[in-house]
Amino acid sequence: MSTATDTHHDEHHGPAKGMRRWLFTTNHKDIGTLYLWFSLIMFFVGGAMAMVIRAELIQPGMNLVDPMFYNQMVTMHALIMIFGAVMPAFVGLANWMIPMMVGAPDMALPRMNNWSFWILPIGFTLLLMTFFVPGGAPAAGWTIYPPLSLQTGDAFPLLVFGIHVLGISSIMGAINIIVTIMNMRAPGMGLLKMPIFVWGWLITAYLLIAVMPVLAGAVTMLLTDKYFGTAFFDAAGGGDPVLFQHIFWFFGHPEVYIMILPAFGIISEIIPTFARKKLFGYSAMVYAIAAIAFLSFIVWAHHMFTVGMPVAGLLFFMFTTMLIAVPTGVKIFNWVATMWRGAMTFETPMLYALAFLFLFTIGGFSGLMLAIVPADFQYHDSYFVVAHFHYVLVPGAVFAIMAAVYYWLPKWTGYMYSEFWGKTHFWLSTISINVTFFPQHFLGLAGMPRRIPDYAVQFTDFNFISSIGAFVFGLSQLIFVYVIIHCIRGGVGRATDRVWEGSHGLEWTVPSPAPYHTFETAPEVK
């Protein structure tokens, strides 16, 4: 596809020393690294909360924590995993890889890049501080529906400002990514020659710009309702709480695609490498991402089928939601077709990509079940929904992130990670995640409501299994940390520049580890 000489010149200064390097860096690789470490830490913070939740649910009755704290755990777990773990991980990958994939020397707006990372810890400081204020952390669920969310104690303004800060960070990151992709591509790299990962992120960035401000508006309205006497959502003053749900899900549904489109991009990079074939149907993949992004704006009310909508509304949102399965199916079939008669090998990144393919599809199917209005009347707010979104988010988004880390780690560190421990991590994670979430489908169908710290005794067995799975999954992630640190410290030996036999694309033409500055002279893309 392309050629490039080693573009690292010694007259360019390398990284500064010590803390200052990380605080003031404008280097896309440094910032990518910061995002990825931050995300890993948040993954463990949010994960610890999940462990509390599963420990409480391991048997019926009130076992461990009081119900109010349980609600705080559920709320903060979701906020941290979404805004702290999954989204920053994707932004970190974008920072590391997009400039190298399009042959650019850095992101287009390096100083803004530094800011968009460093306000993240500020946002999370605000959010985590809420545990120490009177009334405790937010406990009304990550969807912060009024009137319940308006009963939050002193945590409320911290929550709102925290969300503002995280939103600003995401928007700045998104602007940076769009400008980089639009203006900094190497000569010859037309839009339809870009790697699919870059496409996935380009469209995701537009989604972010379209919906993060809407969330910021929604929480601002909550804030003024609570403290300044407005009545956007307060029925007493002529407002309407259902309006909040509409505004929230206008953000919320595109948000779930923000968490999966970059994952689609990653999978589209990895499968061709390990199947040693070109991606099947490149342009269909691009159009499918665009179609999913467009449809994501007109399906939001499938989260609120039970609020009492006119039948015409129910039908509209049911059919548009089901329509999303079409471009999603195109992607799944194209990935399968890419592997068809390929010379496949099963290194850890490929194992994760394959697990993604199977398990994300299960999540898609349960989504389709939820899209059926009369069925959703039964499933809504039950553990079936919990099972659905964890299948698309954990073996979906999170597995894609792990696949990406294993895939590009040799390029980042210059060393090969240990396949043995990578595969051990993979099998433990994959088995335990299914043990955790598959039984939750049955719990939901049998009527166990979500967001409740206790349950009827007939749900005991499945909950016990689910909790055990969760603990194993949580512990398995320590292996992930071990593999990463082991790899940084030398792993099992030096990585070649290509790293993988079937790798393709500009990022594999630079040395491993990728030098501090790459593509200072643009490569020629044929």
Partner: protein, 185 residues
């Protein structure tokens, strides 16, 4: 090798950054614009609860449909149970569409202080909203309650004979709020 691509933020960036920033600001505004848009949408489709706060303009000169009976259920809700006791006097009525009926709600201010009470109605199923017409209703205005005062508040209503045939039961719910605590929450 091209020289255009030297990594310095080009002048082309500024325009794109400005447009993207503007788009973000516009979307922030759009979130707020959804508030009036939502009201308009509900008004047009007849599912608005605010439209039910108004009195029916036309006097009742409708044909009474003596062949049909509809069940009207009355529900009272309040989130401020420490301040109000709020209940319907009757929980259900069988009515003929087109005929005028009266029922009452009972409210008590449990507080020692004077309170301004305010009721917000809604009808379910949502499709029935525009057919339940209130000629007179305590929800049209706020009520002043002296400390620990009780009141019996009337609703005069009729069900429009145009009510779709498939609807046999409509529920009229009132949520009761203290206006003066709205601000001090």
């Amino acid at each position: 090798m091209s020289s255009e691509q030297d990594g310095k933020p080009g002048k082309g960036n500024r325009g794109l950054v400005a447009r993207l920033t503007l788009a973000s600001v516009a979307m922030f505004g759009f979130g707020f614009a959804l508030v009036p848009l939502y009201d308009v949408f509900c008004e047009v489709t007849g599912i608005s609860s605010s439209s039910t706060t108004r009195a029916a303009a036309e006097p009742v000169a409708l044909e009474v449909d003596y062949d049909r009976k509809v069940t009207v259920e009355f529900v009272a809700t309040t989130n401020q149970r420490d301040i109000w006791r709020f209940t319907p006097e009757e929980t259900r009525m069988r009515v003929h569409p087109g005929k005028l009926y009266t029922t009452h709600y009972l409210a008590t201010n449990l507080d020692e202080r004077d309170r301004m009470g305010h009721a917000v109605p809604d009808v379910s199923p949502a499709g029935a909203t525009r057919y339940v017409q209130k000629v007179e209703c305590f929800c049209f205005e706020e009520q002043l309650f002296a400390g620990e005062e009780s009141q019996r508040m009337p609703v005069l209503f009729y069900v429009d004979p145009e009510l779709p045939r498939n609807i046999g039961t409509v529920t009229l719910n009132y949520s009761f709020f203290a206006q003066d605590v709205v601000g001090e929450k």
